[in-house]
């Protein structure tokens, strides 16, 4: 299942593993991404914590944890080629994976159809 936050992060959930990234809408608004700082494996994040930093040519932005959990892996591809977030934000450009601490937190997120509709109103 794919979920989205109002901060334009996405969460793809398979069992208790959640993969997190930023949406296509977010990458388009940020523009050329030149750097991404991702959390280390083992880091415990609460929902809403600052989890990663993404730097575009224009500015730095925080990426928040849309759900809480323990980070298991960060995307190693972002180090050498952060522009992958522009090319494939909701696929190869994922930021990190975590083990969900409280799957009920997903209830507060939007599903894909609701998120895409909401983006059109922005």
């Amino acid at each position: 299942m794919l979920y989205f936050s109002k901060d334009h992060e996405w969460v793809r959930v398979e069992g208790v593993v959640a993969t997190v990234g930023i949406s296509d809408h977010a990458q388009a608004a940020l523009g050329d991404i030149v750097f991404a700082e991702v959390p280390e494996a083992g880091k415990v994040l609460a929902k809403g914590d600052e989890a990663a930093v993404v730097e575009s040519v224009k500015a730095a932005s925080d990426v928040y944890a849309p759900v809480g959990g323990t980070v298991t892996e960060a995307n190693p591809a972002l180090g050498d080629d952060p522009a992958i977030v522009n090319r494939d934000p909701e696929g190869e450009g994922w930021f990190f994976k975590l083990t969900l601490s409280d799957p009920s937190e997903l209830d507060g997120l939007m599903d894909e159809a609701a998120y895409r509709d909401w983006c059109k109103t922005l």
Binding site: D32, F35, E37, E55, K58, N86
Partner: protein, 372 residues
């Protein structure tokens, strides 16, 4: 401020080209049409069209206008030849920089181009401090377009006979697309290129004419900023302001030799002392390892963690593929190759002081002809 932004003469044109418009200097300005890095690299390899109509175009006239302007600007203006440009600064009485500008002798007058965000204050300053009889006309009906990049001369030369004969920092009266234009070989990207002053009602026709050439693409403010940063050129309100002097800003080249001897310009006492003894702080360039930019507002720290300066511009260099920036640091530390520590959002970044520009200028300098 909630004031409605002023619309550029090309506002409709920018929107039709798909520009994302942002407020800047009181205007709605195009920040990008495409992606910023693509626009930046296009300008470095072909030609970019920039709308800089927000800038203030002034015509200053009156008896001995050069001498009058020299009381406020430290540049050599009396011997400036007709049609030649000079980079200079409007100074306050303490030597602080009120604005940086380009001054061109046009016959008996001086054509002065100042920054958009500061133009109203500059005009008030000129009118208050210049002698009676010196008139400052704000040419509000003029638009200003810049064509920058290695292919700019071929593009503009095909439309405007004779323009290719201009050397860097030289201008003249031409016609483009059947409109009168003042064209100078100058710009803010480090590339060869031109700035074109035309009546606002002709701006759309001229922009279309230039963009009809496939070597030209419209370029927004985003790339204008990264281009000027690579070229080591200061941005007013960020890298220079009233708290800085020309010596601190490492712009001593703009203080004429005769002017140094004669002293008669605003802030001369302080500026000449700084030229002799050094200023406490100096503007430098820096590079960083890795990819994360350190931006305006970050602190420069010494070995003990004391603040000894601050970052005034910082970003990612599309041409070099690395983060670059400018900072003010204690002059004693301001040697190329020296390392310093920067602090941004609680994180430390080792930086190396680097000679400016980061990307070599490619101006079309003509050899000086003796006695000409």
């Amino acid at each position: 401020m909630d004031e409605q932004p002023i619309l550029l003469p090309l506002d409709r044109w920018h929107r039709a080209k798909g520009a994302r418009m942002v407020p800047f200097a009181g205007y709605a300005m195009p920040v990008q049409y495409d992606r910023i890095i693509a626009e930046h690299l296009w300008t470095r390899s072909h030609a970019g069209l920039f709308d800089v109509s927000h800038m203030g175009q002034l015509m200053v006239h009156g008896v001995e206008v050069d001498k009058a302007l020299e009381t406020l600007l430290p540049g050599e203006l009396q011997t400036l030849k007709d049609g030649r440009l000079r980079y200079s600064m409007l100074l306050d009485e303490g030597g602080g920089i009120i604005d940086d500008l380009m001054a061109t002798r046009r016959g008996g007058d001086f054509y002065v181009v100042v920054n958009g965000a500061t133009k109203a204050g500059d005009i008030a300053e000129f009118e208050r401090r210049l002698p009676t009889g010196i008139i400052v006309d704000h040419m509000k009906e003029q638009a200003l377009l810049a064509v920058q990049g290695p292919e700019a001369v071929a593009v503009l030369g095909s439309l405007v006979p004779g323009v290719a004969d201009l050397g860097f920092m030289q201008g003249g009266a031409f016609r483009i697309g059947n409109h009168a234009a003042w064209i100078s070989r100058s710009g803010y990207t480090g590339e060869d290129g031109f700035e074109i002053s035309i009546t606002a009602s002709a701006a759309e026709a001229i922009a279309d004419l230039l963009c009809a050439d496939e070597r030209v693409r419209p370029i927004g403010l985003g790339a204008r900023d990264s281009l000027r940063l690579e070229a080591g050129l200061p941005l007013y309100g960020h890298d220079i302001d009233r708290e800085t002097t020309p010596v601190m800003a490492d712009l001593g080249f703009a203080i004429g030799k005769r002017r140094r001897g004669e002293r008669g310009f605003a802030g001369a006492e302080r500026i000449l002392a700084e030229l002799e003894q050094g200023a406490p702080l100096k503007r430098v360039g820096f590079t960083l390892d890795g990819r994360q930019p350190v931006r305006e507002g970050a602190l420069v720290l010494d070995g003990e963690g004391n603040q000894v300066g601050r970052v005034t511009s910082g970003g990612f260099s599309p041409s070099l593929g690395m983060p670059i920036g400018m900072a003010y640091v204690a002059t004693a530390l301001a040697e190329p190759g020296a390392t310093m520590m920067l602090e941004q959002r609680g994180k430390l970044f080792p930086a190396t002081i680097t000679a400016l520009p980061f990307v070599p200028h490619r101006y079309h300098r003509k050899p000086q002809v003796q006695g000409a």
